[in-house]
């Protein structure tokens, strides 16, 4: 008669019965929930590191921005460009211009040892020499404390990330460069990008201090439009006077973060998988116990004419429900504890520190809950099958 409806109402009534009696199995149910919450929390936390690094890299680039390095160089530190090279690059077609001329900044990139706030040991902090166009080229550059350095003076401005993660980089402090004390006169932000981990100074001052003559390591430039890249690149690579590697900023930063991102993500997923398997065993234990404790009730229902389908589904539903609770708790905990948590690490590609904030993104939260549901599904499947196969007569006879 009302076949499907009857079936659904059976599922509903058995499931409701299970849910109402969860408190009788509080100990083992809580164990499963907490176990799954732990797995999800660890996975979300570790992957939020990778997401944070990725976000810092992404917010460093704009689609119309380009960077030019010497051909063969994989990072700024390895690159070298002469004063003439810089001039030819700045004259290339497609570069946007404002009242000061081409929006192209020739830069020097070195690292200096500054003590890390957390460990007190030396860290490779980037010291960047910039030219006047730098604030217009780099994303969302703005001074948030103190003032910009004076051009021609050995004054420094420090990214907010560097100021937070390393010692002695507050406004009013000074650091030793080339046997001299250089004062920090301001802090800057750059939309959460990697330059927030850097210290900036006038490139001309840095050239003198490091005896670099009129040489630079990179040119950052803004194009009139993102579509202009191919023409820009062709012009530079065709120029016989130049031996350079022009890249879109997006591609450059993706390349810079690739290794770090892959290592963190790979290890995070590996740990999550191993922990997840452990949690499946825990969930199986819980659900087998739940089924065993309810053997008589299930047998009674079957004897009353309930199908085995609704019984299977009800056990699976209970497991999934516990897992869902665990997933939400775990993801929530990770979000509360880690989202926005700031840290610094060594980027192997640039051999220098980058600062970033852990980023618990929505897709990451969803991934966490999905992982929980997978654990719940496998943890409930076999006990559910056992429940369905329970021989009615023997189960009823059990005490």
């Amino acid at each position: 008669m009302a076949g499907p409806f009857n079936w659904i109402s059976q599922v509903a009534s058995v499931s409701l019965f299970n849910v109402r009696t969860v408190h009788k199995r509080l100990g083992s149910s809580l164990t499963a929930v907490l176990g799954i919450a732990g797995v999800v929390a660890v996975m979300v936390a570790v992957l939020s590191i990778a997401q944070g690094i990725l976000r810092a890299m992404e917010s460093s680039s704009a689609p119309e921005n380009v960077i030019v390095l010497r051909s063969g160089a994989t990072a700024e530190m390895m690159s070298g460009l002469g004063g003439d090279d810089v001039r030819f690059i700045s004259e290339a077609p497609g570069i946007a211009r404002n009242e000061d001329g081409a929006i192209a900044s020739a830069e020097l990139f070195v690292i200096i040892d500054v003590k890390k706030q957390s460990t007190g040991t030396d860290a490779n902090v980037p010291l960047r020499g910039v030219t006047r166009a730098a604030p217009s080229v780099h994303q969302e550059f703005s001074i948030v404390e103190g003032r910009m350095f004076e051009w021609g003076l050995n004054e420094l401005v420090v990214g907010v990330g560097a100021s937070r993660e390393f010692r002695g980089l507050k406004v009013g402090d000074s650091i030793e460069v080339a046997n001299e004390q250089w004062p920090v006169v301001g802090l800057f932000e750059s939309g959460g990008g990697v330059s927030e981990a850097e210290i900036w100074v006038d490139a001309a001052v840095l050239q003198t201090a490091y005896r670099r003559g009129n040489s630079y390591q990179s040119v950052y430039a803004k194009l009139e439009s993102p579509d202009g890249f191919q023409a820009f690149k062709d012009a530079l690579t065709a120029d016989p006077r130049l031996n350079v590697r022009p890249m879109r900023e997006e591609d450059y930063y993706a390349e810079q973060s690739e290794l770090l991102y892959n290592v963190v993500t790979g290890l995070g997923k590996l740990i999550a998988v191993i922990m997840g398997i452990g949690a499946i065993f825990g969930a199986l234990n819980t659900m087998y116990t739940a089924v065993a404790a309810r053997a008589r009730e299930i047998a009674t229902l079957r004897a009353l004419g309930f199908h085995s389908g609704p019984v299977v589904i009800s056990v699976l539903l209970e497991s999934l429900m516990l897992a869902f609770a665990g997933g939400v708790v775990g993801a929530g905990l990770a979000w509360l504890a880690f989202d926005g948590f700031t840290a610094a690490t060594l980027n192997f590609a640039s051999f220098s520190q980058i600062t970033f904030a852990f980023y618990v993104s929505v897709p990451l939260l969803i991934q966490g809950v999905v992982l929980a549901m997978v654990i719940g599904f496998f943890g409930g499947l076999f006990p559910a099958i056992r429940a369905a196969r329970l021989p009615i007569a023997t189960a009823l006879r059990e005490q």
Binding site: G38, A75, D113, A123, L267, M275, F281
Partner: protein, 384 residues
């Protein structure tokens, strides 16, 4: 021991539950071992750092170079035995993603300084007599399929040759083995004289950093200070520190790896403890009657306590033991990042910690139910 059979039969009573609990414990210890290997990899070399070696680098940063003349000047300093310079070459093999460590060194001095790089006498002889000769670690040679006698072109990203070319050709004259666990065998060393002749003028006569052997490890702070004083107020001031401190500082650049790993392991153990404790509690609750019978036939209270604790110990020991063994096997099979982690093994010390943890966990999981069993009053329990 005579109760072992009894404990075993108790464990066998709910085979599935016992197996599942054991498997959760197994996973916890598998992870423990694995994370220990990862932590060791990130702090590579610290455990094998030589106490009588110092690292001397430019005070401002590691990337700034020091004059090659410092070697002779340091060797004059009281307490210094010898000094060997190395320089980061930063090239790659064939493709940009094939990056690994290459350093120019003076072969004879270098091999004396680092006895942990094991090279046969023939290979050493060949290196000393071949100007373009280079040696590679076993692991990196296997990664790229190099054999002794191969020509190995390395593309420079920092050190273009004086003639403007980027490719340096080397003759692979030897493959060195790691003398002890934790020695990095992914490096590539070639001769300093070839390097210095072929590099452009701006770099000639400069090296990246020095390794200094001192006579007495007790005096490392004093000798470090003497070295730094020797070059104070010069164009290139130095920072000298023990090799272990240098490597620890470098590992700290990545982050507080130890703290992160301990947090994860702590989280894992906490949840597994819940699972194991819960199982033991069930086992006791179910068996209230039997435990009372045991007491009635003459088992003492502490005997029953021991029985339940013994069950917890056996369960954890089997699960944990298999877990640690599996971790060891998995780690021996290779690192998960394909060559990014230069050394990948579980140090003996961490294995010992693992065994201690097994005991702790077994005790914590079993003690409450065991005490419950101990306090059981025969009459009450039998009436239930």
């Amino acid at each position: 021991m005579k109760y072992l059979a009894l404990i075993l039969s108790n464990l066998k009573r709910h085979k599935l539950r016992t197996a599942l609990t054991m498997l959760s414990i197994l996973v916890a210890f598998l992870l423990f071992g694995y994370l220990a290997a990862i932590r060791t990899a990130f702090t590579a070399g610290i455990d094998v750092a030589d106490l009588d070696r110092l690292i001397v680098r430019h005070k401002v940063s590691l990337i700034q170079l020091l004059p090659a003349s410092y070697e002779a000047r340091m060797e004059q300093i009281e307490g210094v035995d010898s000094a060997v310079g190395q320089t980061w070459f930063g090239g790659y093999y064939q493709e940009q993603r094939n990056q690994f460590a290459q350093m120019p060194v003076k072969p004879d001095e270098f091999l004396d300084m680092f006895p942990e790089y094991v090279l046969s006498d023939d290979e050493k002889e060949a290196w000393l007599s071949t100007r373009t000769g280079a040696i590679a670690g076993r692991q990196i040679a296997e990664r790229f399929g190099w054999q002794v006698g191969d020509k190995v072109p390395i593309t420079a990203s920092i050190w273009t040759k004086a003639d403007g070319s980027q490719v340096w050709d080397f003759d692979l004259v030897g493959i060195y083995d790691a003398g002890e666990k934790g020695t990095d065998d992914t490096q590539f060393f070639f001769r300093y004289d070839y390097f210095d002749e072929s590099r452009p003028d701006w770099g000639k006569g400069l090296v990246g950093w020095y390794t200094v052997r001192i006579d007495d490890p007790e005096r490392s702070a004093e000798v470090s200070a003497a070295i730094d004083a020797e070059f104070a107020n010069s164009q290139a001031e130095t920072k000298a520190e023990p090799e272990g401190a240098f490597l620890q500082g470098f590992a700290n650049q990545i982050g507080d790896i130890g703290f992160i790993m301990t947090s994860i392991v702590g989280m894992v153990f906490f949840t597994i403890l819940l699972v194991a404790g819960n199982t033991m509690a069930y086992a006791v609750r179910e068996r209230t009657n039997e435990l009372a019978v045991l007491k009635a036939v003459g088992f003492t209270d502490s005997g029953v306590l021991g029985l339940v604790l013994g069950e917890s110990f056996l369960l954890t020991a089997i699960g944990g033991g298999i877990g640690l063994t599996l971790a060891w096997l998995m780690v021996s099979a290779g690192d998960p990042t394909n060559g990014f982690l230069v050394t990948f093994f579980i140090p003996g010390r961490d294995m010992v910690y693992g065994v201690i943890l097994i005991a702790v966990m077994a005790f914590v999981a079993g003690i409450l139910p065991a005490m419950q069993a101990q306090r059981l009053r025969i009459a009450d329990a039998l009436r239930r």
